[in-house]
Subunit: 351 residues, 2 copies
C-alpha cells in the first residue's frame, strides 16, 4: 500500500492502532480555576487563576485565555518556540469551538480543529500520535479546554438563574490541559524519570443507549466507554490487569458504577484498577460537586497534572487513558433527542 | 524518527505534506436540496430531495438524514460495506456537531469529529489522506454537511422572521458531500477514466484581519485563503499556473475578488484559473443568492459532484481544492468579536 509497507503492523484488530515506535509525550501543561485548585489535585496544576474571568470580559474570552496560557506554557516547558509545532490539534465544548478559535489564533500554528465533546483530549492525542508516528509532523500540540460558567451558559442555564442540580449532575471543570507529542527522544526533564510514550490507540464509535437526561451524562457516556475498553482489550488480546490504571474522563460516580457493571457482565473486571478523572478532581463531600467533574478540561488537566507525573515516576507503567464525551447540544436536548456517547482510548506507558 | 525513516520527504516547507504514494479517492457522493438541484450543477448530484425536511421533524434531523444518505451512498458506490471503513472523519456547522453525531451513529464506524467551519471538508480530506498514507487506515470516509434552514437558525435569524440580507451575504447550501480515500489502487469505474489522488496538503492557520460582519464572510475568509494558497505555492515551489484550477470553498463574489487582489499584490496571479464553489453552485441572477453559496456542504457537494468528474475525465489534471471557513458562532458575533478565517488546501490530481 504505502512506501513503508508496514500497514499490517499498525492497524490492530477492528478499531486500534499499535505504534511500533511509540511517540513521546515530552511535556504537559495545565491551567486551572480556583475550585479545581482547591480539589485533591490542586497542587499539581502549573497555573491557577483565582479570577474566573481570567482577566477577560466574557466567559468565552476567559476560556480562550486559559487555553492560550496552557498552549504557551507547554511550549515553554518543552523548550520550544511556536514555530517548532507543526500542528495544533484541539477543541473545546462551545458551539463552533470559539474558545479554541480565539484562544490560539495568535500562536500562528496550523490548526486541526476537532470535536468529541469531553472525549476531545483522547481524539487530539490519537490524531497527534498518528501524525507524529507517520512522519507528518515533528511535533504536535494536543489541547482542550472547558470553563464551568461558559458550559453552564452553553448547555444548561445562566448561572444567575441559580437552578438546582440533581446528584447525577457533574460540575464542568474550568481548565485547559496540553501535551506535546513528538517522535524525538528528547529528554527535557530529570534523566532518572521515565519517558512517557503513546503505545497505541482505540478510536470509539458513537454509542447511543437512549439516555435523554442531560443531568446524567455519566450514564449516557458509560456505554461508549464500555465499548471502547472492551474493543481495546479484544484488539490487543489483553486482560484489564495489563493496565495499572484504566482511567475514564468524566463518568463521575454514577457513570463509573455503570461502566464497571457493564464490563463485569462482559467478563472484564476493572473494579480494582479503574479510576475516573471526574471523581478524582473534586472532593465530593467538601466541594458540593455532586457526581464529579466533567468537561474537556477535566481529563486534560488530570492527565497533564497528575497521570503524566505518575508515569514519569514509574509509579504507574501502563495506563489506558479514555476521555469520554456526551454528544449533545442545547438544541438537541431541547428537541428531546437522546445523548449519544463516544470514548477514545489512548495507551500511555512509561518507557 | 519513525520506522520508515522517510519523514523528511513527507513534510514539505512550513505547512505542507507531500504524499509519496498519493492516496486514491475511489468514490464520491453528493446529496442536495431542491434549490441546489435548480442551480448550474444541479444535474450532477447523486441524490436530490425536494423536501427540505428530508422526511424528518426538525432542521437538525433533516441535516443528519442528508449526511447519513451521503455516507451510505458513497459506501455503496465504492462497493464497500460499513465495516470496510476504518475511520469516518467529518463534521458540520451546528453547535457540538449534532448533525454528524445523530446522522452517522447507526453506521457503527469509528468517528473522528472535526470542526473547521466551512473549511471542514478540506480538513477531513487532509486527515483522511494522512491516516491512509501512514497505514493507520485502509479506507477513510471524509464527509461534511450543511443545511440552509439549520444554519440560518444557528447563526442568524429564524426563517419566519424574513430578514433582509445584504448583497455580501451568502446562501448556505443544503447538502452533504462524501469521499472515500484509500491506499488501494482499486478501479471501480470505467478503466478509461483517470485515478484521482491526493498529492499533498497545506494546513491553514487561523487568520484574523479584524472583519466583524457576519453577513460578509467572504471578506473574513479571503485572507485565510490567501495565506494558505501563498504557503502552498511557496512550500512546493510552484506557480499558480501549475494548477488547472485553484478552487476556494465559499468566498462568493466579494471574497473571491479580495483573494485575487491579495495574491496579485504578493506576486501571484490566479485570476485566470481561480474558481469558487460558492459562485458555481447557484445562478446568482435567477436564484437570488446574492454573493453565492456557502456552508460545509457547498464545497463538499461541488467537489463530489463536479470537480471529481472533471478530474476523472482528465479535463482538469491538477486542482488545488481549498475549502474556506469563517470561525464565528452566534455567541462570538453577539459579543462583538471578529470573524477569524481558516482554509485547508488539498492538492487533488488525475493520475
Amino acid at each position: 500500500m504505502t512506501a513503508n509497507g508496514n500497514n499490517q503492523t499498525k492497524m490492530v484488530g477492528k478499531q486500534s492502532i499499535l505504534f511500533q515506535n511509540a511517540p513521546y509525550i515530552i511535556a504537559t501543561a495545565s491551567v486551572a480555576g480556583k475550585k479545581e485548585s482547591e480539589g485533591p489535585l490542586g497542587s499539581l496544576f502549573d497555573i491557577v487563576n483565582e479570577d474566573p474571568m481570567f482577566g477577560q470580559n466574557s466567559w468565552e474570552e476567559a476560556e480562550s485565555e486559559l487555553m492560550k496560557e496552557a498552549a504557551e506554557k507547554v511550549i515553554m516547558k518543552a523548550g520550544l518556540a511556536n514555530s517548532d509545532i507543526r500542528y495544533l490539534v484541539g477543541g473545546d465544548l462551545l458551539g463552533q469551538l470559539i474558545a479554541t478559535s480565539f484562544g490560539i489564533a495568535e500562536l500562528k500554528i496550523p490548526v486541526l480543529g476537532i470535536y468529541g465533546a469531553c472525549s476531545t483530549m483522547g481524539e487530539a492525542m490519537s490524531i497527534g500520535a498518528m501524525l507524529v508516528d507517520g512522519g507528518y509532523a515533528d511535533r504536535v500540540l494536543a489541547i482542550t479546554s472547558s470553563h464551568f460558567a461558559g458550559a453552564e451558559k452553553q448547555f444548561r442555564f445562566p448561572l444567575d438563574y441559580g437552578n438546582q442540580r440533581p446528584y447525577s449532575a457533574t460540575w464542568t471543570v474550568t481548565g485547559s490541559g496540553a501535551v506535546i507529542i513528538t517522535g524525538e527522544d528528547k529528554k527535557i526533564s530529570n534523566p532518572a524519570e521515565a519517558d512517557v510514550v503513546i503505545k497505541g490507540i482505540t478510536t470509539g464509535k458513537i454509542v447511543d443507549y437512549g439516555i435523554k437526561d442531560s443531568m446524567n451524562m455519566g450514564a449516557a457516556m458509560a456505554p461508549a466507554a464500555f465499548e471502547t475498553i472492551k474493543q481495546n482489550l479484544e484488539d490487543f488480546g489483553l486482560q484489564p490487569s495489563y493496565y495499572d490504571r484504566i482511567i475514564t474522563g468524566d463518568l463521575g460516580d454514577v457513570g463509573s458504577k455503570i461502566l464497571i457493571d457493564l464490563l463485569l457482565e462482559a467478563g472484564h473486571d476493572i473494579s480494582k484498577n479503574h479510576m475516573d478523572c471526574g471523581v478524582e478532581i473534586f472532593d465530593k463531600e467538601k466541594q458540593d460537586t455532586h457526581a464529579g467533574g466533567s468537561g474537556c478540561g477535566c481529563s486534560a488537566i488530570t492527565f497533564a497534572g497528575y497521570i503524566y507525573r505518575k508515569l514519569k515516576t514509574r509509579e504507574w507503567n501502563r495506563v489506558l487513558f479514555l476521555p469520554t464525551g456526551a454528544l449533545l447540544s442545547q438544541v438537541s436536548f431541547n428537541e428531546g433527542k437522546t445523548v449519544p456517547g463516544i470514548a477514545h482510548a489512548v495507551m500511555v506507558e512509561a518507557k
